[in-house]
């Protein structure tokens, strides 16, 4: 616990959100609530990836006055890792696409049976 800093906090929040999202996906019966579970899972993974790019005591990778003052004008000595952030941007967009598709499917399912309870969709069960 002696090294408890921003990286550890965001890592912990990411793991907790992943667990909450996973629990929601596994236990909820309402399709909309399952989709909410997926988005929480998604957010947790994104926070996890950003926190892995954190470098101790450094600032955001945008070159402005704050960066110039902290690192003696050496940018790479004063910013956190920008690559995971760029990758998370991709992941967020894909997460959006997946959520939009899931909502469209939920709409279709509701139109078919007039219910969102997942237990009612047992046509393939024998």
């Amino acid at each position: 616990m002696e090294n408890f800093d921003l990286g550890h906090i965001s890592l912990l929040i990411g793991f907790l959100l992943i667990l909450v999202g996973f629990w929601g996906v596994l236990t909820q019966k309402n399709i909309i609530k399952i989709i909410v579970g997926f988005t929480i899972l998604n957010t947790g993974i994104n926070i996890l990836m950003v926190s892995l790019g954190y470098v101790k005591g450094k600032t955001a990778p945008i070159i402005d006055n704050a960066v110039a003052q902290t690192g003696n004008h050496d940018v790479s000595a004063s910013v956190v890792d920008p690559v995971p952030q760029a990758l998370v941007l991709t992941a967020i967009v894909i997460g959006f696409g997946v959520t939009a598709l899931m909502l469209a499917y939920a709409m279709k399912l509701y139109n078919a049976k007039k219910t969102l309870e997942i237990n009612k969709f047992n046509d393939l069960k024998w």
């Binding site: 690559v83 991709t90 598709l101």
Partner: protein
């Protein structure tokens, strides 16, 4: 009962694995090799103050093209899946009266939201933000519009045209990069300009404006389809 026990077991095992990763995690104290190159040379090579933007649009520009393609694919699958006919776009549903507060606030907020979205994607190379974020902000304005007036008829021909033209322009700028500069999506087809001003970083503001328009149009299109595919009276 058995099911709940199994679920608890799965969550516990996952939590245990995460705990092991967490307890062995040490915050990094320096950047990895490729990031060091990006941060040290990014300002000089690309001219963008926001290094994340430099990576997303220029160093990994191909990735961004893939992202835009994924969004387009999502919109296409939803269009295919919800199967709207022309008369569905004209249909109106009986809805509960929207509250006075929402209607009045939306009239004031929607122009400001659109303006903010445009600001965010124009300044993607200087401040946190960019095309995808700006497009999403514009789409929240459209969502507010739909919530305030549920029977609104968005002109979907305009939305389709904005989407198509900005998508094609993005690819054309990328190809111009091959002809005029070092490779596909190279931003040096225009001068890099003065570092830290709006018209700097070569083609990045233009590319991000097209991305922002495309994303905004695409999400608005999806929202409109959700709204118009409601068949029965609510």
């Amino acid at each position: 009962m058995l099911r709940n026990t199994l679920l608890a077991l799965v969550i516990l095992v996952m939590g245990y694995m995460f705990y092991n990763v967490y307890s062995n995690y040490e915050t990094r104290t320096e950047l990895s090799g490729i990031s060091q190159h990006f941060t040290a040379q990014g300002a000089e090579e690309v001219g963008a103050a926001n290094i994340v933007t430099a990576i997303v649009v220029t160093y990994r520009g191909f990735d961004t093209l893939g992202e835009v393609t994924i969004l387009f694919l999502t919109a296409s699958i939803i269009a295919f899946f919800l199967k709207l006919k022309d008369e569905d776009y004209e249909s109106s549903i009986d809805h509960r009266a929207t509250s006075e507060l929402l209607v009045t606030a939306s009239q004031i907020l929607i122009p400001i939201i659109f303006l903010f979205g445009i600001y965010v994607f124009m300044n993607g190379h200087l401040t946190p933000g960019g095309g995808f974020q700006g497009g999403a902000i514009i789409a929240t304005g459209v969502a507010l519009m739909i919530l305030a007036t549920p029977n609104i008829k968005l002109n979907y021909h305009v939305i389709h045209w904005v989407e198509a033209v900005s998508g094609v322009s993005f690819v054309i700028i990328g190809i111009l990069g091959i002809v005029l500069a070092g490779g596909f999506l190279d931003n040096r087809i225009l001068g890099l300009g003065e570092f830290g001003t709006l018209f700097s970083a070569g083609a990045i503001p233009i590319i991000y404006s097209f991305v922002g328009l495309k994303v905004g149009a695409e999400i608005s299109n999806i929202l409109n389809k959700y709204q118009k595919s409601q068949k029965e009276k609510v």
